[in-house]
């Protein structure tokens, strides 16, 4: 039986100290098999983004076991986590988070270059054309619209053909029309890359497109 992409057991995450100490995740459990797409729903402050951050290795859980792509991300050091993300995990965030000093082509190439891939530029070009930005390769983020910037972010996440794609409210800063197009693109590119997709969303329509929906309530995964 193939390994699950994600296997989180009893994940606790506590941030802050003293009076500001806050339990963000309180025993979250999540398992994801290859080929699945999971939508994460929940009210603000329920721990959705923190759950994604634990999966991506951006937050180290206070306790619990976090296996991602067969690796114990809670036990890995930062450099190994960075390498894991660069090779195998694509991340799309609400506010795009593109590198402002790099063109669209360069933004998409960077993860593959860091992974020492010789075909980084060609793959980046191909991915940008696939998301409809073949004519904007040399433009900087400040010269792109919000929708275009998010397309670049998607291309950057999917170009390395990751095994896992994580998206945190990818349409949060976009209008409805752009948002719908982005969601379509995300699902399409994830499918093309053969990657599992975990997407945080407030939109039930988006959740309906996923193979499974989970709800975060008060730091726990319910359902």
């Amino acid at each position: 039986m193939p390994e699950p992409l994600i296997d989180l057991s009893d994940i606790h995450l506590t941030l802050g100290r003293g009076a500001a100490r806050t339990d963000i995740l309180r025993g979250a459990v999540l398992r994801m098999e290859a080929g699945e797409t999971i939508a994460v729903l929940g009210p603000s402050g329920s721990g959705k983004s923190s759950l994604l951050a634990v999966i991506a290795g951006l937050e180290r859980p206070t306790s619990g076991r976090a296996m991602v792509l067969g690796e114990d991300v809670a036990a890995m050091d930062e450099d190994r986590l960075a390498r894991l993300r660069g090779r195998s995990i694509g991340i799309v965030l609400q506010n795009f988070q593109l590198l402002p000093t790099m063109s669209a082509l360069e933004n998409v190439s960077v993860p593959m270059e860091l992974a020492r891939r010789g075909d980084a530029a060609e793959r980046a070009r191909a991915e940008l054309e696939a998301v409809g930005l073949g004519h904007r390769l040399t433009h900087y983020p400040a010269q792109l619209s919000g929708g275009e910037q998010q397309r670049v972010a998607i291309a950057r996440a999917t170009a390395p053909h990751p095994q896992l794609l994580l998206a945190d409210e990818p349409t949060g800063n976009l209008d409805a029309a752009n948002g719908a197009a982005i969601i379509d693109l995300l699902f399409e590119r994830a499918g093309a890359a053969g990657a599992g997709l975990v997407i945080i969303t407030h939109d039930p329509a988006v959740a309906d497109r996923a193979s499974r929906t989970v709800r975060m309530v008060d730091g726990r995964v319910a359902g």
Binding site: L58, G86, R87, T101, E106, V110, L114, A115, Y140, A142
Partner: protein
């Protein structure tokens, strides 16, 4: 309260932000200028205010190799109370060793003004002497000891702490005797190189300048030199002026670098206020209100910075007073020097205007819609008018207030040219960084791409680092060339000993002593007298009010000699040398540089007073003197026949063979010819080197200020782009970069910029040093490897420091936290 002031106060609630960098750059810059200018002014002020104490009277009249005649003395005493001082070089000998000293024989009226203070004992009487503290320590002399000076054994009555200036800048320690003691030494003989001075306390309301002119008109051929109380310690003043000018110019370089920091800070401040400006304009604020608001904020910080800088400048004289006392004849005036502080404040205001106007004006003119896009339009030309005018005004202020405006203008021009050079280099680095960015490996591309990022301070940093590193290279190269010349070249060429006041009658005995005690040594002997130039082409020198810098030949007594043959190290460039057996009317050959300064040519006439007798001579030739031959080089040489009957002495140089020394000769001369003064070249070199090292220390401190300013600008650039850098570095980690790779990217960015700048800075600094060394100092240009290696080393350290400063905060923050707050 005006609307603009109210808005400014509210706006500053959000914190000073980048205005802190503006404060720091401006405060440091103004502090540098204020400190240097205040110190120079305080020393000058103290010298001017204490002229009577320094001179020991209101007027000093001096004459070489004789006393005043009865008629001259009557004229002197008619002016007021007077004190007589006879000064000459001598050798003080003790069992432990001997030393060249400046011997002063004073009468009972001395000092008329000022106080002679003694660390031990009292002033001498009869066959006693008081010796300088440094000499006493060196030879282990205490009160009650016996020392030999000339033919006299003198008892040490006191150790001198301070004396009213008896002569000018003295290279030999003082020994004080009274007239009885002086006579006992037997050193004042016809022809010996002594100077007799009369210090005079004039009546109330009498003008020293008028009294001096009247005396010199009455005795035009007496060879009298007059110094008024306002000119006391003139040599020290000129030295202080030169050093102060040099340090001020270095402080101005620091100000220029600081201006870049101010510009950077003002730009960052303006950018941070754009959303506020957009909102204010949406709510109805006029541009004038917005401009006033920003002007108040920047102006308040600038004034606070200038005040801090002036405070440092105001206390500098008091702080330095203790250190300066050792080599100054008087303590610096510790009161604030308002003129100097005002000048520093004006520089601060002008540079703030020049640096901050553009970014602030640009922010004010922003249309609200543009705030929501990053591609802002470049500043139109009209916004450069005020900054350019302010910069020109600062340059004009520097030139107008300099004691050497021409030299300062050249230096300001060089500073402007260098700034343009490094700005061009920065621009070229940006273009190269942008052009080839697609073909490099990821780390190299990321690091170099950062140099071309929109809003990168590449050009500004190139100028700031370039100016500082160029200055470091130039100062280092000039210093090492000068020290090498003095410590290596001069000793290699100069004779080991100079001996003066050898009586003509003892010449043969001296030569025999040299032959016996220093066999194989090269001896050179020349006749020697002293006397001032009293007229040029019949025009008395006293009719000249101010003697320009290049006309030193008219300043004071000149060494005179006569020669049948052209001395070695001299070359005739105009006219002809006389025959060896010439016996006609007086002829002279003079230094060609002095002749050009006075616009003299062959055939013109010059009158020299020797022992009160005017000798009018025709200029037969002009000579180019190689002063670096370190032999006896006289600016004025007489043909045979004019001076042989005047009482003269003989001067000698002794250069021992390669492995020989002159110790035995020195002892023999001290024992057999006590009237002869021996000057060891290595002692003089040691004193000069000590003075140069102190000067070099001061220059290096000033240079380090410029470097420190560059570091502040660099740090400011890193801090002002901190958020953007942190975000970039976190994103790099997001897409797979390790911590080492993130740090490497920062290091590549700063190292590639500073490497390029350091290379050009070394070249620029070496070129500047070559020009100074070749044309100003006229010595060989031999920069030490260390002096040329320092700037690149400094650049490397700066890069590493900047990269660490940039990377560490991002390396320490948790990525998720950074992304949440981005």
């Amino acid at each position: 309260m005006s609307e603009a002031l109210r808005l400014a106060i509210r706006d500053l609630r959000g914190g000073l932000g980048s205005l802190i960098l503006l404060w720091l750059c401006l405060a440091l810059s103004v502090a540098g200028i204020a400190a240097v200018a205040s110190l120079a002014a305080s020393i000058d002020s103290a010298l001017a205010a204490n002229g009577r104490q320094l001179l020991g009277g209101d007027l000093s009249l001096s004459v070489a190799q004789r006393d005043a005649t009865a008629e001259e003395y009557r004229a002197i005493t008619a002016m007021g109370r007077s004190a007589k001082i006879v000064t000459l070089r001598a050798t003080l000998a003790k069992a432990e060793g001997s030393a060249l000293v400046e011997l002063s024989g004073v009468d009972r009226n001395w000092p008329l003004a000022g106080t002679a203070t003694f660390a031990a004992g009292r002033r001498p009487a009869g066959t006693e002497a008081a010796v300088g503290a440094e000499l006493a320590e060196r030879l282990g002399i205490g009160v009650g000891d016996r020392v030999r000076v000339g033919f006299a054994q003198l008892r040490v009555s006191g150790i001198v702490r301070a004396l009213p200036a008896i002569s000018g800048f003295a290279l030999a320690p003082p020994v004080l005797v009274d007239q009885t003691g002086l006579a006992a030494t037997g050193l004042v003989q016809p022809g010996s190189l002594s100077t007799t001075s009369y210090r005079i306390l004039l009546g109330a309301g009498a003008d020293p300048a008028s009294a001096a002119r009247a005396f010199q008109r009455r005795f035009p051929n007496g060879g009298w030199r007059a110094v008024e109380r306002s000119e006391a310690a003139g040599g020290t003043r000129r030295f202080i002026d030169r050093v102060g000018e040099l340090l001020l110019l270095i402080a101005l370089v620091s100000l220029a670098i600081g201006g870049l920091g101010i510009s950077s800070a003002a730009g960052a401040f303006a950018t941070s206020r754009r959303p506020t400006i957009a909102a204010l304009k949406l709510l109805g604020a006029r541009a004038a209100t917005v401009r006033a608001m920003l002007g108040i904020e920047v102006g308040a910080i600038a004034l606070a910075a200038i005040a801090a800088g002036l405070a440092v400048g105001a206390v500098t004289p008091a702080l330095v007073a203790g250190a300066a006392e050792a080599w100054l004849p008087i303590s610096p005036d510790s009161a604030p020097q308002w003129g100097a502080l005002g000048k520093a404040a004006l520089f601060g205001l002008l540079v703030t205007l020049a640096a901050a106007w553009g970014p602030i004006a640009g922010a004010v003119a922003t249309r609200p819609a543009e705030v929501f896009r990053a591609d802002l339009e470049p500043a139109p030309v009209r916004r450069l008018a005020v900054p350019v005018l302010a910069a020109l005004a600062a340059a004009a202020l520097a030139v107008a207030t300099a004691s050497n405006p021409g030299f300062t203008a050249i230096l300001v021009g060089c500073l402007a040219a260098l700034s343009l050079l490094f700005a061009g280099l920065g621009l070229a680095i940006r273009r190269v960084a942008r052009r080839g960015s697609h073909r490099r490996g990821p780390l190299l591309r990321l690091g170099i791409a950062a140099l071309a990022r929109p809003g990168a301070a590449t050009i500004r940093l190139a100028v700031a680092m370039g100016l500082g590193l160029s200055l470091l290279a130039m100062v280092g190269a000039v210093g090492s060339a000068l020290l090498r010349e003095i410590q290596t070249t001069i000793p290699g060429r100069a004779p080991a000993l100079f001996l003066v006041d050898i009586p003509v009658a003892e010449r043969a005995r001296f030569e025999a002593l040299a032959d016996e005690t220093a066999p194989g040594a090269e001896l050179r002997l020349v006749p020697s007298l002293r006397g001032p130039v009293t007229a040029v082409n019949g025009v008395p020198v006293t009719q000249l009010r101010d003697i320009p810098e290049g006309v030193w030949i008219l300043r004071g007594d000149r060494g005179l000699t006569f020669a049948a043959a052209l001395p070695t190290g001299n070359r005739i460039v105009a006219g002809r040398w006389w025959p060896a057996n010439y016996r006609g009317p007086p002829l002279i050959s003079i230094d060609v540089d002095a002749a050009e300064a006075l616009d003299l040519k062959v055939g013109d006439r010059m009158t020299v007073a020797v022992l009160g007798r005017p000798i009018d001579a025709r200029i037969a030739s002009l000579r180019q003197i190689d002063w670096r031959s370190f032999g006896f080089n006289f600016a004025i040489i007489f043909a045979p026949g004019a001076l042989e009957n005047a009482p003269y002495t003989v001067m000698a140089t002794v250069a021992p063979p390669r492995d020989g020394d002159t110790l035995a000769l020195e002892r023999a001369v001290s024992r057999e010819l006590p009237m002869v003064s021996t000057i060891r070249v290595r002692d003089i070199i040691a004193q000069v080197v000590e003075t140069l090292r102190a000067l070099e220390g001061a220059v290096r401190i000033a240079t380090l200020l410029a470097i420190a300013m560059g570091v502040v600008v660099l740090a400011g650039s890193v801090v002002s782009t901190r958020r953007a850098r942190q975000r970039e570095m976190v994103l790099l980690k997001l897409v797979g970069a390790t911590r080492g790779e993130v740090l490497a990217v920062q290091l590549i960015e700063f190292a590639s910029l500073s490497a390029g700048v350091a290379l050009v800075a070394v070249a620029a600094g070496a070129l500047g040093a070559w020009a100074v060394v070749k044309y100003l100092l006229e010595i060989d240009f031999t920069p030490g490897i260390a002096s040329l290696a320092l700037p690149p080393l400094a650049a490397v350290l700066l890069s590493i420091g900047a990269a660490l400063m940039a990377a560490l905060p991002a390396l320490l923050v948790r990525p998720a936290t950074a992304l949440r707050t981005a």
